[in-house]
Symmetry: C2
């Protein structure tokens, strides 16, 4: 039916095929308007319905309370790294950061431009191969907020439960790579942000779920585009929004809803990841790089007994239609990214290939 392969890319990543097909159609003639999705005014009734429905589906899916705003911004998580502290952190204040990998470190770097950063825990001592336990976290006395990265695409780790900030400090989460892969209790968070290109849609749109009191507390002497309140007030249409990206996010949210919602997708993700981790745990040639209690359901990182075998594995897998398995250059080895839209059949095929490869080599 399709000449598409199994795409294990860490991001931009695989999307549900019905969403891709709907987008193809919408590009030519959107919703019977005679105008394509890329060419449609963002003030038109057709596009207003898209953005309203995307927000509504997001709210329903994650039971987002009314005192939170749902914003569709641009610039990726990399822009939230500075936008959150720019709005919330004053020079004499301290924000706590949990350092679980490259992306946490980038967030820390930007926050330091605005105030004090206290690294409340770090797993850098073991190359980020685990998530710190609550006993290992030392919060500062009155942090302005606590920031963490819920899933670490490069190291392949994932928080199983949220950290619990001291003194009710707001929790800020970079959820780019596991958002809506499982149920989420939004009430526990001040801000959840996510670049869309892993679990939500294409690159170029960033979902920001933010508690309204934090929007109000934001600095008001910033450039208009950098204040969260601007985008809340304008319903994410202060300037021309990334229309195609928002449309696709909306379609992905509907797909998750029709799949059964976050609990159902979480169960599916559990099953998929278990298939792969079990095979790796049973292997004599391959091993997962992450401590069992910290393993990501989204990014399965593993190594072989030597680098030559890894190179050969990646090459032969690609030839068999299993692409994107090369690990990030900073950790080497292999990485299978199996976000929401990645099919279980693809995980089964990978397991089969792992076994075939081990038997032959």
């Amino acid at each position: 039916m399709s000449e598409r392969i199994y795409n294990f890319s860490a991001g931009p990543a695989i999307l549900p095929e019905p969403v891709v097909e709907a987008t193809q159609k919408a590009l030519w003639n959107f919703d019977g308007s005679g105008v394509g999705l890329m060419e449609c005014s963002h003030r038109s009734a057709a596009f207003s319905a898209v953005i309203e429905q995307a927000e509504e589906n997001c709210r329903k899916l994650a039971s987002i309370p009314d005192d939170y705003s749902v914003l569709f911004l641009q610039g990726g998580a990399s822009s939230q790294f500075y936008m959150a502290p720019m709005n919330l952190l004053k020079t004499d204040q301290t924000a706590d950061y949990l350092n679980t990998g490259s992306w946490s470190k980038k967030a820390i770097k930007e926050a330091k431009l605005f105030g004090n950063v206290h690294v409340a825990a770090s797993s850098e001592d073991e190359n980020f191969s685990y998530i710190p336990s609550s006993a290992q976290i030392r919060y500062s006395q009155t942090p302005r907020y606590v920031h963490f990265t819920s899933n670490n695409t490069i190291a392949g780790t994932e928080w199983k439960t949220e950290p619990t900030p001291a003194n009710h400090a707001p929790l800020i989460c970079d959820a780019s790579s596991d958002i809506f892969s499982r149920p989420i209790d939004v009430r526990k968070y001040g801000i959840i942000y996510a670049g869309a290109q892993k679990n939500l849609g294409p690159a170029g749109v960033t979902l920001v779920i933010i508690r309204n009191d934090l929007i109000e507390q934001g600095a008001d002497n910033l450039p208009t585009m950098l204040q969260y309140r601007t985008h809340k007030k304008a319903g994410s249409c202060f300037n021309t929004p990334p229309a195609v990206g928002i449309y696709v996010v909306g379609e992905v949210l509907k797909w998750i809803r029709d799949f059964g919602g976050l609990a159902a997708i979480a169960e599916y993700n559990q099953e998929k990841a278990k298939l792969v981790y079990d095979a790796l745990d049973q292997s004599k040639m391959f091993r997962p790089t992450v401590r069992p209690d910290s393993r990501s359901l989204m990014n399965v990182c593993f190594r072989a007994t030597n680098e030559a075998l890894e190179t050969q594995f990646i090459k032969e897998a690609k030839a068999q239609g299993l692409d994107g398995l090369k690990g990030h250059r900073s950790v080497g080895g292999m990485r299978a990214s199996i976000y929401n839209a990645f099919p279980q059949a693809g995980c089964a095929r990978l397991v089969e290939f792992i076994k075939e490869f081990e038997a032959k080599n």
Copy 2:
């Protein structure tokens, strides 16, 4: 052949149909890779080729000299309103702004956060219905830069030649709505920026052409994502770029190249606009709102003898497949946006409709 209508939207605006079709195909299986364009790693060979070719075609089309960088950013022109002064304007310096409409005013507002703004000319006295002559411009003594808006979508005016800054101050241009609609002498500019969604592609990607010495002069204590040097160094891939948008821009640039380049498209745009302006000048019911020497070739703004007729005109035009003709709420009346990709046949059809409407009413 198509159920598409004549789309006069001011932006997001009409794209060349072959570009829309190529994008539809690429979404499913990009370049035979087995992976769709939205799902393809931005570090893949396939996507690297897209961004390299887009830059190369941009350079060739506009003869961009080697000491300029071509960047593909996010956040629209609205983000350049603050990013340019944030990088270049110090508290004690003055930047000159030419105020020719709503977008100029927004740019002025953001610049004031960083330094002094001197409004060197303004056409606000006549509701922005003309472009100031060089005799009307009073530059400050040593401006850090001079900023102007080459085409004003709302008022329907367009600079016929660039302003000439005093003391060789760098010229910064918001060219969002007429970029690559005519030849451009890049050497005259320090920065040219443009949201893609009018002449270049879909919303969500911003083209920035910037002289390298200005990148180097930029402040280095800014958030990483807000420094031009970050994006130059990383070839616009510091973070995940808006891949679909960049692909579409690349295809539009090829389409302009195949059309014959900027001189050919300028001639076509002249012809299209002349058709409409001539009909309006000859009409007793309709009149263009802009002084002849300042008329935009991209956005033709016009009024009828009364508002009831305007409402009726817009409604009947839409019923006949001529959509998006309502003027911006701040000026009222009608606006026909006829960017590069808008076909001459559509202008001819509009003229016909104008004549029919006048004869009947």
